[in-house]
């Protein structure tokens, strides 16, 4: 059992997150992963954009940076390049990372710079009052999709895989032991790593779509997800209503800052 108070800025509690929200589960999972790895607090930099998830850095006693909407990965790129020895973790939401921040997301993956991005995917813009997000499923309601969303949603993990990320995983706040392991592996991976975490928003999403309480929504995760190993054994038609969890990509590609340092070393030897 870890001592969370070691990592939390206790004076900033209680959290602003609503009852039934899954964000606190993701936060504790990140802290357990860091504790297990054993990084000191000075070695960690946590960067976020704007939104519910992006309030996370305010609660943790690392080097923390709460940036403009959608730009967390861009700010984090600068931090990492200026100080490659820092372990830079980006916490962001589905809207922050893939709508306004979509360009930075795919290009950081392409570059394969050593950042870990934890995306709190709650299928909605929570902080601004429940507007439709790039991951709101078709037909689901939002304050700006009162007749149900017409737009097909992004596959956040698939986007990172296609763009060249070294490590991509999807977890849920129901499968919390698995989530600890996914985040730990992502943090230790050299290169751009992504953990997409499905987390319920009962207030702005669940209530409007009559999905019940936070507990009901977490139970839904249990019933509608399947591990990547199980999924491999089934024919595709049986996966239609299932969300695949686990490690989706784990490959070794040249990492950007290592390549840049090699360039510097090479030029300076001459």
């Amino acid at each position: 059992m870890i001592d969370y108070t070691k990592y939390l800025r206790m004076s900033k509690l209680p959290l602003i997150w609503c009852a039934g929200c899954g964000n606190g589960i993701v936060l504790k999972s990140i802290l357990r992963a860091i504790d297990k790895i054993g990084w000191s607090k000075d070695q960690v930099c946590m960067v976020s954009g704007i939104g519910c998830s992006s309030r996370t850095p305010g609660y943790v006693d690392f080097n923390t940076l709460h940036t403009t909407h959608g730009r967390a990965i861009a700010f984090a790129t600068g931090v990492k390049m200026a100080k490659p020895e820092l372990h830079v973790i980006v916490v962001t939401g589905d809207g922050d990372a893939t709508a306004i921040g979509g360009n930075h997301y795919i290009h950081a993956a392409r570059r394969n710079i050593d950042l870990t991005v934890v995306i709190f995917n709650n299928n909605i813009y929570g902080m601004t009052g429940g507007q439709v997000s790039p991951t709101t499923p078709v037909g689901m309601k939002a304050s700006t999709a009162p007749y149900g969303s017409l737009e097909p949603s992004f596959n956040i993990s698939g986007l990172a895989q296609a763009a060249g990320a070294s490590f991509v995983a999807r977890g849920t706040v129901y499968h919390v032991f698995q989530l600890d392991k996914l985040i730990e592996r992502a943090l230790l991976k050299r290169g751009f790593s992504v953990v997409e975490v499905l987390t319920p928003c009962p207030t702005a999403y669940g209530r409007r779509n009559r999905l019940g309480t936070g507990v009901d929504m977490i139970r839904w995760q249990k019933e509608h997800t399947i591990s990547v190993q199980e999924a491999a054994k089934l024919p595709p038609e049986q996966l239609n209503d299932k969300i695949v969890t686990g490690v989706l990509t784990d490959v070794d590609r040249p990492e950007y800052m290592e390549a840049y340092q090699a360039l510097i070393d090479n030029l300076r030897r001459k």
Binding site: K41, N63, L65, A74, T77, G78, M81, K83, H107
Partner: protein
């Protein structure tokens, strides 16, 4: 780079000088996105920075470049980006973040004509007001405006020094003529260049307040990863850096952000004067237009018209006191600029009707020639 002792004489452009000035000031990180007429600055630094152990990155867009610059500065780097009008517009939200979070950085804007994509390869001075008021919210800003290649070198160094001194984004407002003109320059020796480093905290980490109210209104600044763990946000915050909705704290913060620059305006503002001692007509011009204005003043003197030049090297904070002093000495002021009168308006405000302010404006993509200003001087002298 090894070279013989002696003055460093070179032929270079303003964009070259900007890149070299930045390196001389200690630049260690550049993020940018290509845009004419600023692109050579990025090109040169992509070549030069890794040679000196610094980092260059071409980001996916202007917004990301500005974000990366801020992140790098918080991690201890001297950081810069370079752009032009439309890209400058894209960067504005993050420039506001840098102002609010007090992150030193330099933003070069090699101006081009606008609005919109405007005139990519032609000169303009249309971003004076964008530099001042481009972001939302209320904060002071520093903007410098070089008129020659050598001065571009000097003002780039100064931009870094002011950014570090006042913990603020500093804008270097160049124009296409200064950026692309080739001039012979004699660069200063490295030991002649004054370089300022940001004020570091001298307290133990647990007592560190990243936005502490100090005597000079400029809080000492730690870098990420040095044992001082602190929080940075674009939200209104108290001395600890954490968000606040307390009206007292918000008021204190916004007033300090403005005051830390306005109260030091005499240290920041810089103007050059030429033949103003006995002048009856004062010409105000900056950037490339000041080159034509100098010639116009000389030609007017040959005709027996006592004209002189006041050339602001710093446009923001605006040299209002200097303009008022000018109005005490001359009977008319002519402001020449490549826009519809952005600085002329500020001059009018500063001199408050004391003397008439005449305008020479050009917005057709062509530079203002000396004759146009000379013509205006003759008209006023009549």
């Amino acid at each position: 780079m090894q070279r013989e002792k002696g003055p460093r004489v070179e032929v270079m452009t303003g964009n070259d000088a900007c890149a070299e000035g930045a390196l001389a000031a200690g630049l260690s990180f550049f993020a940018g996105y290509p845009i004419t007429p600023s692109s050579e600055i990025a090109e040169i630094l992509s070549y030069r920075l890794p040679q000196v152990g610094g980092k260059f990155i071409q980001m996916e867009d202007e917004i990301g470049a500005m974000g990366a610059v801020i992140g790098a500065s918080l991690a201890g780097a001297k950081a810069m980006t370079a752009t032009s009008g439309p890209g400058f517009s894209l960067k504005q939200e993050n420039i506001g973040f840098a102002a609010m979070a007090e992150v030193p950085c330099v933003v070069v804007d090699v101006q081009r004509g606008g609005p919109s994509t405007g005139l990519p390869t032609l000169p303009s001075q249309m971003d004076v007001m964008q530099a001042r008021w481009g972001t939302h919210g209320d904060h002071e800003i520093i903007a410098l405006c070089p008129y020659s290649v050598r001065e571009t070198f000097d003002l780039t160094v100064r931009a870094f020094n002011l950014a570090e001194r006042y913990r603020t984004p500093v804008i270097l407002l160049m124009d296409e003529i200064v950026a692309h003109v080739n001039e012979k320059v004699i660069l200063p020796e490295p030991d002649e260049i004054e370089v300022y480093e940001r004020k570091l905290p001298n307290c133990p980490p647990e007592e560190f307040l990243p936005y502490k109210f100090t005597e000079d209104d400029i809080p000492p600044m730690a870098s990420y990863g040095t044992g001082y763990r602190f929080h940075v946000t674009g939200l209104c915050h108290d001395e600890t850096g954490f968000p606040t909705n307390d009206p007292v704290q918000i008021d204190r913060l916004i007033r300090r952000l403005n005051r830390k620059i306005s109260r030091h305006r005499d240290d920041i503002v810089q103007v050059a004067e030429e033949q103003l001692e006995d002048a009856e007509i004062g010409v105000v011009a900056y950037g490339a237009t000041a080159r034509a204005a100098r010639q116009a003043v000389r030609l007017a003197r040959q005709e027996g018209i006592p004209a002189g030049l006041l050339r602001p090297l710093v446009l923001w904070p605006f040299p209002d006191k200097e303009m008022r002093a000018l109005a005490e000495r001359v009977s008319a002021i002519i402001v020449a600029e490549l826009n519809m009168g952005q600085v002329a308006h500020e001059v009018e405000w500063a001199v408050c009707g004391k003397v008439p302010v005449h305008r020479v404006n050009r917005v057709d993509g062509e530079p203002i020639p000396p004759e146009l200003i000379l013509h205006a001087i003759r008209e006023v002298a009549r």
